[in-house]
């Protein structure tokens, strides 16, 4: 059984989290640059310019891209033939998250649901991290990370359609969610759509769909075509960058599909703002 030291895991994850807060990944940057080129509204174009200037400044000066440095969200695939020694994987991820947020001067945003007090002093600085584990074959640990902001999370929605509603029903639901969201989730956005599975599988898939690099095709040709169709439909809404009106509302639509119950058609839409801060490492 391959071994990974707890401290090495903490160190790698911490470095990734700190870097991600101030460096917009290439795929997001390229997608925004493309939107800037294609935008027809002068007002929206000036907003996109600000977004690009901000990305360059944040990277050069190592400043957080956005004051909402998010909740730390991880999808972690743990190989069956690898073991972390010196502590648990969950503890390592939480420790790395806390240290990165503290030392990187990032904002602690976790709070109690009811009285809304910040949990930084009792649970930990921006803890707990949101961690989705899976067990896979092999001796590696693959970690996908995103700093997920609240504004775009707030407009995300899930439903269970009747099977007869089919693709048309899915299209209408996604369109309604993005139309209702309007300027609020900081467009231009990436739209993650989880289809099928059970209620919670659809939601989780819609989140995971956001981790795919923007601009890469869906490996399933049918879904790839559906993604392109949805993107075109959504851009007809005219919302534009920061909702000021424009042709470039959606940078990409990403779909993940799962088999579902014969009685159901679960659909979830998870929205990602233009500050799509994500990263991955394999240990």
């Amino acid at each position: 059984m391959r071994q990974i030291a707890y401290d090495d895991l903490v160190k790698s994850v911490k470095a990734m989290v700190m870097h991600t807060a101030s460096h917009l990944p290439e795929d997001a940057l390229a997608a925004i640059e493309k939107a800037y080129e294609e935008e027809q509204s002068e007002v929206a174009k000036s907003v996109l310019k600000q977004i690009l200037d901000n990305a360059h400044l944040a990277s050069e000066e190592d400043r957080p891209l956005c004051q909402d440095t998010g909740l730390a969200v991880y999808f972690i695939n743990v190989g069956e033939d690898v073991k972390v020694v010196g502590g648990s994987i969950r503890d390592a991820i939480n420790q790395a998250t806390e240290e990165a947020y503290k030392e990187g001067y990032l904002r602690a945003s976790t709070c109690d649901c009811f009285d809304r007090h910040n949990l930084k002093d009792e649970v930990g600085y921006n803890l707990p991290a949101v961690i989705h584990f899976d067990i896979v074959p092999g001796d590696r640990i693959e970690i996908e990370y995103a700093a997920k902001g609240g504004g775009s999370e707030n407009v995300s929605r899930a439903t269970v359609l009747a099977p007869a509603q089919g693709k048309e029903g899915i299209k209408n639901f996604v369109k309604q969610v993005i139309s209702d969201a309007g300027p609020n989730p900081c467009p231009p956005i990436i739209v993650g759509v989880g289809i099928g599975g059970t209620f919670e599988v659809a939601a989780k898939s819609s989140k995971h769909a956001l981790f795919r690099e923007a601009g890469t095709p869906n490996p399933n040709p049918d879904l790839d075509a559906f993604e392109k169709e949805l993107k075109e439909e959504l851009n007809k809404l005219g919302i534009g960058a920061m909702g000021m009106g424009g042709t470039q509302t959606v940078l990409a639509v990403h779909i993940e599909k799962n088999p579902c119950h014969i009685a159901s058609l679960p659909v979830s839409v998870n929205v990602q703002c233009h500050s799509s801060r994500h990263s991955h490492i394999t240990l």
């Binding site: 101030s22 027809q40 509204s41 007002v43 929206a44 907003v47 600000q50 977004i51 200037d53 901000n54 400044l57 944040a58 000066e61 400043r63 957080p64 891209l65 956005c66 004051q67 909402d68 440095t69 001067y105 990032l106 904002r107 602690a108 945003s109 809304r116 910040n118 930084k120 902001g149 609240g150 504004g151 707030n154 309007g182 300027p183 609020n184 900081c186 007809k236 809404l237 005219g238 919302i239 534009g240 920061m242 909702g243 000021m244 009106g245 424009g246 042709t247 703002c273 233009h274 500050s275």
Partner: protein
């Protein structure tokens, strides 16, 4: 679409000439507050007690910045989504607030208060927190330090760039912009 440079506090005359879509560069003092601080301000008004700053002519920025690095006045400081302040803003506007800075849609009550008492809602670019921080020269927590990022801060700003979303005439840039670019099948 006009461009203005304005210094706070803002007057009725200042805000009345603004129209949805105008670009304004703000100078002077502005205050930060999010939901929790708004609730406290409204509670003070209802109890007839004094507020931690003078509302008359004031501009409130909806922001919860990241912690400043040593030697810097503030961390990244872009706008948060404004609808969470919708239930409080009309009361503050009635008591003299002239400007709000945030992002995202406001409800009818806020738009109505902007018309009735002469106030404007400005949009700043969400997710441009590093860039916007450059316009903030000084920051000082003046109330509710226990709220952390949500404490009320007094900011000194220079040429802080905002766009008028809701003006005193009932116009809404989000509706106007979208209507112009929406493609109906």
């Amino acid at each position: 679409m006009a461009e203005y440079h304005m210094t706070t506090p803002l007057s009725d005359e200042d805000v009345s000439k603004l129209e949805a879509g105008d670009i304004v560069y703000l100078n002077g003092t502005i205050y930060t507050a999010r939901d929790a601080a708004h609730k406290r301000l409204v509670d003070l008004i209802e109890k007839g007690e004094q507020l931690p700053f003078d509302l008359k002519g004031s501009v409130i920025y909806f922001v919860g910045p990241t912690p400043p690095k040593p030697g810097e006045p503030i961390g990244s400081a872009g706008p948060t989504t404004s609808y969470r302040m919708d239930s409080y803003s009309p009361i503050l506007i009635e008591h003299g607030q002239k400007g709000m800075i945030g992002k995202g849609k406001r409800n009818e009550a806020v738009k109505e208060a902007c018309k009735k008492y002469k106030a404007v809602y400005f949009g700043a670019t969400g997710g441009a927190g590093a860039l916007i921080a450059k316009a903030i020269k000084k920051a000082e927590v003046i109330a509710y330090p226990e709220l952390g990022p949500e404490a009320i801060r007094k900011l000194e700003v220079e040429e802080f760039p905002v766009t008028v979303i809701n003006d005193t005439h009932g116009n809404d840039l989000y509706e106007m912009g979208r209507a112009k670019y929406e493609v109906k099948d």
